[in-house]
Protein backbone atom coordinates (compact mmCIF):
# COMPACT_ATOMS: atom_id res chain seq x y z
CA UNK A 1 0.00 0.00 0.00
CA UNK A 2 1.65 3.22 -1.12
CA UNK A 3 0.26 6.64 -0.17
CA UNK A 4 -1.06 6.77 -3.74
CA UNK A 5 -3.09 3.57 -3.24
CA UNK A 6 -4.61 4.97 -0.05
CA UNK A 7 -5.47 8.14 -1.97
CA UNK A 8 -7.16 6.10 -4.72
CA UNK A 9 -9.04 3.97 -2.17
CA UNK A 10 -10.40 7.10 -0.54
CA UNK A 11 -11.49 8.67 -3.84
CA UNK A 12 -13.06 5.44 -5.12
CA UNK A 13 -14.93 4.83 -1.85
CA UNK A 14 -16.31 8.38 -2.15
CA UNK A 15 -17.44 7.58 -5.68
CA UNK A 16 -19.23 4.46 -4.43
CA UNK A 17 -20.83 6.32 -1.52
CA UNK A 18 -22.32 9.18 -3.54
CA UNK A 19 -25.20 7.23 -5.18
CA UNK A 20 -25.81 5.27 -1.94
CA UNK A 21 -26.30 8.50 0.01
CA UNK A 22 -28.73 9.84 -2.60
CA UNK A 23 -30.79 6.61 -2.73
CA UNK A 24 -30.72 6.31 1.07
CA UNK A 25 -32.07 9.86 1.55
CA UNK A 26 -34.48 9.63 -1.39
CA UNK A 27 -36.05 6.36 -0.26
CA UNK A 28 -36.29 7.64 3.32
CA UNK A 29 -38.16 10.79 2.27
CA UNK A 30 -40.41 8.81 -0.09
CA UNK A 31 -41.15 6.01 2.39
CA UNK A 32 -42.19 8.18 5.35
CA UNK A 33 -44.90 10.01 3.38
CA UNK A 34 -48.05 9.19 5.34
CA UNK A 35 -46.21 7.85 8.38
CA UNK A 36 -44.19 4.72 8.96
CA UNK A 37 -43.50 2.47 11.97
CA UNK A 38 -40.34 0.57 12.83
CA UNK A 39 -42.21 -2.68 12.29
CA UNK A 40 -43.21 -1.62 8.77
CA UNK A 41 -39.61 -0.73 7.91
CA UNK A 42 -38.29 -4.03 9.22
CA UNK A 43 -41.05 -5.80 7.31
CA UNK A 44 -39.61 -4.44 4.09
CA UNK A 45 -35.89 -4.78 4.84
CA UNK A 46 -35.73 -8.13 6.63
CA UNK A 47 -34.92 -10.97 4.30
CA UNK A 48 -34.21 -8.60 1.45
CA UNK A 49 -31.00 -9.47 -0.37
CA UNK A 50 -31.15 -6.12 -2.17
CA UNK A 51 -31.09 -4.04 1.01
CA UNK A 52 -28.48 -6.36 2.54
CA UNK A 53 -26.13 -5.76 -0.41
CA UNK A 54 -27.02 -2.07 -0.63
CA UNK A 55 -26.27 -1.25 3.00
CA UNK A 56 -23.49 -3.84 3.20
CA UNK A 57 -21.51 -2.13 0.44
CA UNK A 58 -22.41 1.28 1.85
CA UNK A 59 -20.94 0.32 5.23
CA UNK A 60 -17.74 -1.04 3.69
CA UNK A 61 -17.25 2.19 1.70
CA UNK A 62 -17.94 4.33 4.77
CA UNK A 63 -15.49 2.39 6.95
CA UNK A 64 -12.74 2.75 4.33
CA UNK A 65 -13.44 6.38 3.53
CA UNK A 66 -13.71 7.59 7.12
CA UNK A 67 -10.67 5.65 8.34
CA UNK A 68 -8.49 7.01 5.52
CA UNK A 69 -9.70 10.58 6.11
CA UNK A 70 -9.05 10.34 9.85
CA UNK A 71 -5.64 8.80 9.13
CA UNK A 72 -4.53 12.03 7.42
CA UNK A 73 -5.86 14.16 10.29
CA UNK A 74 -4.12 11.95 12.86
CA UNK A 75 -0.85 12.28 10.93
CA UNK A 76 -0.97 16.03 10.39
CA UNK A 77 -2.68 17.19 13.58
CA UNK A 78 -1.72 14.58 16.16
CA UNK A 79 1.71 13.81 14.69
CA UNK A 80 1.14 10.03 14.54
CA UNK A 81 3.57 8.20 12.26
CA UNK A 82 4.40 4.71 11.00
CA UNK A 83 3.01 1.71 12.85
CA UNK A 84 1.01 3.72 15.40
CA UNK A 85 -0.69 5.68 12.62
CA UNK A 86 -1.54 2.51 10.67
CA UNK A 87 -2.66 0.68 13.81
CA UNK A 88 -4.99 3.43 15.01
CA UNK A 89 -6.54 4.03 11.58
CA UNK A 90 -7.02 0.29 10.99
CA UNK A 91 -8.74 0.03 14.39
CA UNK A 92 -11.05 2.94 13.46
CA UNK A 93 -11.87 1.31 10.11
CA UNK A 94 -12.57 -2.09 11.68
CA UNK A 95 -14.62 -0.48 14.46
CA UNK A 96 -16.82 1.34 11.95
CA UNK A 97 -17.12 -1.80 9.86
CA UNK A 98 -18.16 -3.80 12.95
CA UNK A 99 -20.79 -1.28 14.04
CA UNK A 100 -22.14 -0.91 10.51
CA UNK A 101 -22.21 -4.64 9.78
CA UNK A 102 -24.03 -5.23 13.06
CA UNK A 103 -26.71 -2.68 12.08
CA UNK A 104 -27.05 -4.06 8.54
CA UNK A 105 -27.46 -7.55 9.91
CA UNK A 106 -30.08 -6.38 12.41
CA UNK A 107 -32.33 -4.77 9.78
CA UNK A 108 -31.89 -7.17 6.87
CA UNK A 109 -31.38 -10.65 8.34
CA UNK A 110 -34.20 -12.98 9.38
CA UNK A 111 -37.90 -12.25 9.06
CA UNK A 112 -39.05 -12.43 5.47
CA UNK A 113 -40.91 -9.97 3.31
Amino acid sequence: MTPFHLYMAQRLSALVMAPFVLVHLGVMIYAIQGGLTAAEILGRTQGSLFWFLFYGMFVIAVALHAALGLRVILAEWAGLRGGVLNGVSTAIGLGLLGLGAHAVWAVTAGGGA
Partner: protein, 242 residues
Protein backbone atom coordinates in the same frame (compact mmCIF):
# COMPACT_ATOMS: atom_id res chain seq x y z
CA UNK B 1 18.27 66.44 9.28
CA UNK B 2 14.72 67.60 8.75
CA UNK B 3 12.00 66.10 10.85
CA UNK B 4 11.01 62.78 9.38
CA UNK B 5 8.35 60.29 10.39
CA UNK B 6 9.60 56.99 11.72
CA UNK B 7 8.18 53.52 11.59
CA UNK B 8 8.43 50.97 14.37
CA UNK B 9 9.88 47.71 13.11
CA UNK B 10 10.02 44.49 15.14
CA UNK B 11 12.55 41.98 13.92
CA UNK B 12 12.96 38.41 15.08
CA UNK B 13 16.57 37.81 16.17
CA UNK B 14 18.62 34.73 17.00
CA UNK B 15 18.15 31.10 16.04
CA UNK B 16 16.56 28.01 17.54
CA UNK B 17 20.00 27.09 18.94
CA UNK B 18 20.71 30.43 20.64
CA UNK B 19 17.11 31.30 21.50
CA UNK B 20 14.88 33.77 19.67
CA UNK B 21 13.49 37.12 20.69
CA UNK B 22 11.84 40.12 19.06
CA UNK B 23 13.80 43.37 18.87
CA UNK B 24 12.29 46.75 18.15
CA UNK B 25 13.88 49.40 15.88
CA UNK B 26 12.88 52.92 14.84
CA UNK B 27 13.46 53.44 11.12
CA UNK B 28 12.98 56.71 9.22
CA UNK B 29 10.21 56.57 6.63
CA UNK B 30 11.05 57.33 2.98
CA UNK B 31 9.07 57.58 -0.21
CA UNK B 32 8.92 54.32 -2.20
CA UNK B 33 10.54 52.36 0.61
CA UNK B 34 10.55 48.56 0.43
CA UNK B 35 10.61 46.15 3.36
CA UNK B 36 14.11 45.12 2.24
CA UNK B 37 15.15 48.81 2.41
CA UNK B 38 13.96 48.86 6.02
CA UNK B 39 15.96 45.75 6.95
CA UNK B 40 19.05 47.13 5.16
CA UNK B 41 18.68 50.49 6.91
CA UNK B 42 18.73 48.74 10.31
CA UNK B 43 21.78 46.70 9.35
CA UNK B 44 23.67 49.73 8.00
CA UNK B 45 22.70 52.29 10.64
CA UNK B 46 21.72 50.59 13.88
CA UNK B 47 22.95 47.01 14.16
CA UNK B 48 25.56 45.65 11.74
CA UNK B 49 25.13 42.15 13.20
CA UNK B 50 21.62 41.76 11.75
CA UNK B 51 21.72 38.78 9.38
CA UNK B 52 19.51 38.54 6.30
CA UNK B 53 19.74 37.61 2.63
CA UNK B 54 19.21 39.41 -0.65
CA UNK B 55 20.91 39.73 -4.01
CA UNK B 56 19.08 41.23 -6.98
CA UNK B 57 16.65 43.68 -5.31
CA UNK B 58 14.36 43.40 -8.36
CA UNK B 59 12.40 40.19 -7.80
CA UNK B 60 14.60 37.88 -9.85
CA UNK B 61 16.81 35.88 -7.48
CA UNK B 62 14.31 34.67 -4.88
CA UNK B 63 16.63 35.15 -1.89
CA UNK B 64 14.92 37.94 0.09
CA UNK B 65 11.70 36.23 1.21
CA UNK B 66 10.65 36.82 4.85
CA UNK B 67 7.50 36.80 6.94
CA UNK B 68 6.08 40.32 6.94
CA UNK B 69 3.23 40.82 9.43
CA UNK B 70 2.88 37.05 9.53
CA UNK B 71 2.65 36.36 5.79
CA UNK B 72 5.44 35.36 3.40
CA UNK B 73 6.54 38.06 0.95
CA UNK B 74 9.43 38.97 -1.37
CA UNK B 75 10.73 41.90 0.63
CA UNK B 76 12.57 43.65 -2.22
CA UNK B 77 9.30 44.18 -4.05
CA UNK B 78 7.00 44.76 -1.10
CA UNK B 79 6.35 48.43 -0.49
CA UNK B 80 6.22 49.50 3.14
CA UNK B 81 3.11 51.55 2.29
CA UNK B 82 1.28 48.36 1.40
CA UNK B 83 1.96 46.51 4.67
CA UNK B 84 2.22 49.27 7.27
CA UNK B 85 -0.30 48.95 10.13
CA UNK B 86 -0.39 51.79 12.71
CA UNK B 87 3.14 52.80 11.61
CA UNK B 88 4.44 49.30 12.51
CA UNK B 89 5.81 46.28 10.67
CA UNK B 90 6.72 42.83 12.01
CA UNK B 91 9.51 41.03 10.20
CA UNK B 92 10.48 37.39 10.84
CA UNK B 93 12.36 34.61 9.04
CA UNK B 94 10.47 32.49 6.51
CA UNK B 95 8.14 29.88 8.01
CA UNK B 96 8.62 26.10 7.63
CA UNK B 97 12.43 26.25 7.34
CA UNK B 98 15.13 26.05 10.05
CA UNK B 99 16.43 29.49 11.08
CA UNK B 100 20.19 29.91 10.72
CA UNK B 101 20.31 33.35 12.32
CA UNK B 102 17.92 36.32 12.51
CA UNK B 103 16.18 36.55 9.12
CA UNK B 104 18.27 33.97 7.24
CA UNK B 105 16.82 30.45 6.96
CA UNK B 106 18.43 27.21 5.85
CA UNK B 107 17.02 26.55 2.35
CA UNK B 108 18.50 23.01 2.12
CA UNK B 109 15.27 21.12 2.93
CA UNK B 110 13.47 23.15 0.25
CA UNK B 111 16.03 22.33 -2.45
CA UNK B 112 16.50 18.72 -1.31
CA UNK B 113 12.80 18.24 -2.00
CA UNK B 114 13.18 19.64 -5.53
CA UNK B 115 15.61 16.81 -6.15
CA UNK B 116 13.38 14.25 -4.43
CA UNK B 117 10.41 15.27 -6.63
CA UNK B 118 12.47 14.28 -9.70
CA UNK B 119 12.02 17.74 -11.21
CA UNK B 120 15.15 17.36 -13.33
CA UNK B 121 15.65 16.83 -17.03
CA UNK B 122 15.78 13.23 -18.28
CA UNK B 123 17.51 13.54 -21.66
CA UNK B 124 15.86 11.94 -24.69
CA UNK B 125 18.80 12.37 -27.11
CA UNK B 126 22.58 12.77 -26.91
CA UNK B 127 24.44 16.06 -26.95
CA UNK B 128 25.51 15.67 -30.61
CA UNK B 129 22.01 15.19 -31.99
CA UNK B 130 20.40 18.21 -33.63
CA UNK B 131 18.14 20.23 -31.32
CA UNK B 132 14.51 19.42 -32.09
CA UNK B 133 12.15 22.35 -32.57
CA UNK B 134 9.58 23.00 -29.86
CA UNK B 135 6.21 24.42 -30.80
CA UNK B 136 5.43 27.13 -28.23
CA UNK B 137 1.73 26.88 -29.09
CA UNK B 138 1.43 23.15 -28.25
CA UNK B 139 -0.96 22.48 -25.37
CA UNK B 140 1.58 20.57 -23.23
CA UNK B 141 4.19 23.29 -23.84
CA UNK B 142 1.78 25.95 -22.59
CA UNK B 143 1.25 23.92 -19.40
CA UNK B 144 5.02 23.55 -18.96
CA UNK B 145 5.62 27.24 -19.65
CA UNK B 146 3.11 28.24 -16.97
CA UNK B 147 5.54 27.14 -14.25
CA UNK B 148 8.96 28.11 -15.58
CA UNK B 149 9.13 31.58 -14.07
CA UNK B 150 9.57 30.15 -10.57
CA UNK B 151 12.37 32.00 -8.76
CA UNK B 152 12.77 29.40 -5.96
CA UNK B 153 11.89 31.94 -3.30
CA UNK B 154 10.15 29.38 -1.06
CA UNK B 155 7.24 31.73 -0.35
CA UNK B 156 4.72 29.07 -1.37
CA UNK B 157 6.59 26.56 0.82
CA UNK B 158 6.29 28.95 3.77
CA UNK B 159 2.59 29.55 3.06
CA UNK B 160 1.66 25.86 2.91
CA UNK B 161 0.03 24.38 6.03
CA UNK B 162 0.60 20.85 4.75
CA UNK B 163 4.35 21.53 4.77
CA UNK B 164 3.98 22.81 8.34
CA UNK B 165 2.15 19.67 9.48
CA UNK B 166 3.98 17.00 7.48
CA UNK B 167 7.79 17.17 7.38
CA UNK B 168 7.85 14.69 4.47
CA UNK B 169 5.63 16.75 2.17
CA UNK B 170 7.58 17.83 -0.92
CA UNK B 171 5.76 21.14 -1.11
CA UNK B 172 4.30 23.27 -3.89
CA UNK B 173 7.43 24.54 -5.67
CA UNK B 174 9.10 21.12 -6.04
CA UNK B 175 5.88 19.52 -7.26
CA UNK B 176 5.24 22.35 -9.68
CA UNK B 177 8.72 21.84 -11.14
CA UNK B 178 8.01 18.10 -11.50
CA UNK B 179 4.80 18.95 -13.42
CA UNK B 180 6.72 21.38 -15.65
CA UNK B 181 9.31 18.76 -16.56
CA UNK B 182 6.55 16.15 -17.00
CA UNK B 183 4.99 18.33 -19.70
CA UNK B 184 8.29 19.02 -21.46
CA UNK B 185 8.34 17.27 -24.85
CA UNK B 186 12.10 16.76 -24.46
CA UNK B 187 11.82 14.76 -21.26
CA UNK B 188 12.30 11.02 -21.65
CA UNK B 189 11.22 9.61 -18.28
CA UNK B 190 7.78 10.78 -17.28
CA UNK B 191 7.26 7.50 -15.38
CA UNK B 192 10.12 8.35 -13.01
CA UNK B 193 8.48 11.70 -12.24
CA UNK B 194 5.12 10.10 -11.46
CA UNK B 195 6.87 7.53 -9.23
CA UNK B 196 8.68 10.29 -7.36
CA UNK B 197 5.53 12.31 -6.69
CA UNK B 198 3.43 9.26 -5.69
CA UNK B 199 5.45 8.28 -2.62
CA UNK B 200 5.41 9.46 0.98
CA UNK B 201 4.83 13.21 1.09
CA UNK B 202 4.04 13.32 -2.64
CA UNK B 203 1.40 15.26 -4.54
CA UNK B 204 -1.44 13.24 -3.00
CA UNK B 205 -0.77 14.87 0.38
CA UNK B 206 -1.84 18.28 -0.99
CA UNK B 207 -5.20 19.47 0.36
CA UNK B 208 -5.80 21.88 -2.54
CA UNK B 209 -6.39 24.87 -0.26
CA UNK B 210 -4.29 27.05 -2.52
CA UNK B 211 -2.18 29.17 -0.14
CA UNK B 212 0.73 28.50 -2.52
CA UNK B 213 -1.09 30.08 -5.45
CA UNK B 214 -2.46 32.91 -3.31
CA UNK B 215 0.99 33.98 -2.07
CA UNK B 216 3.30 33.25 -5.03
CA UNK B 217 4.73 36.70 -5.81
CA UNK B 218 5.19 35.76 -9.47
CA UNK B 219 1.55 34.87 -9.94
CA UNK B 220 2.32 31.19 -10.56
CA UNK B 221 -0.19 28.46 -9.77
CA UNK B 222 1.37 25.45 -7.99
CA UNK B 223 -2.13 24.39 -6.86
CA UNK B 224 -3.14 23.63 -10.46
CA UNK B 225 0.23 22.02 -11.23
CA UNK B 226 -0.27 19.62 -8.31
CA UNK B 227 -3.83 18.90 -9.48
CA UNK B 228 -2.27 18.03 -12.86
CA UNK B 229 0.08 15.53 -11.19
CA UNK B 230 -2.84 13.95 -9.31
CA UNK B 231 -4.73 13.56 -12.60
CA UNK B 232 -1.68 12.11 -14.36
CA UNK B 233 -1.04 9.53 -11.60
CA UNK B 234 -4.73 8.58 -11.59
CA UNK B 235 -4.75 8.20 -15.37
CA UNK B 236 -1.71 5.94 -15.15
CA UNK B 237 -3.45 3.86 -12.44
CA UNK B 238 -6.35 3.20 -14.83
CA UNK B 239 -3.91 2.17 -17.55
CA UNK B 240 -3.65 5.49 -19.34
CA UNK B 241 0.16 5.33 -19.49
CA UNK B 242 2.58 7.88 -18.11
Amino acid sequence: MSHRETITVTVQRGSAATGQHMQEFQVPAYESQTVLDVVSWIQQNTDPTLTYRFACRVGMCGSCAMMVNGVPRWTCRTHVKKVLKDQRIDIAPLRNLPVLKDLAVDMDPFFDKWVAAEGRHHPSIGRDAPIPAINPEAAARQVASAGIECINCSICYAACDTVANDPDYLGPAALQRAWTVYNDAKDADRGAILDAVSGKGGCHSCHSMGSCTAYCPNGLDPLSAIAGLKRATTRRFFGGGA
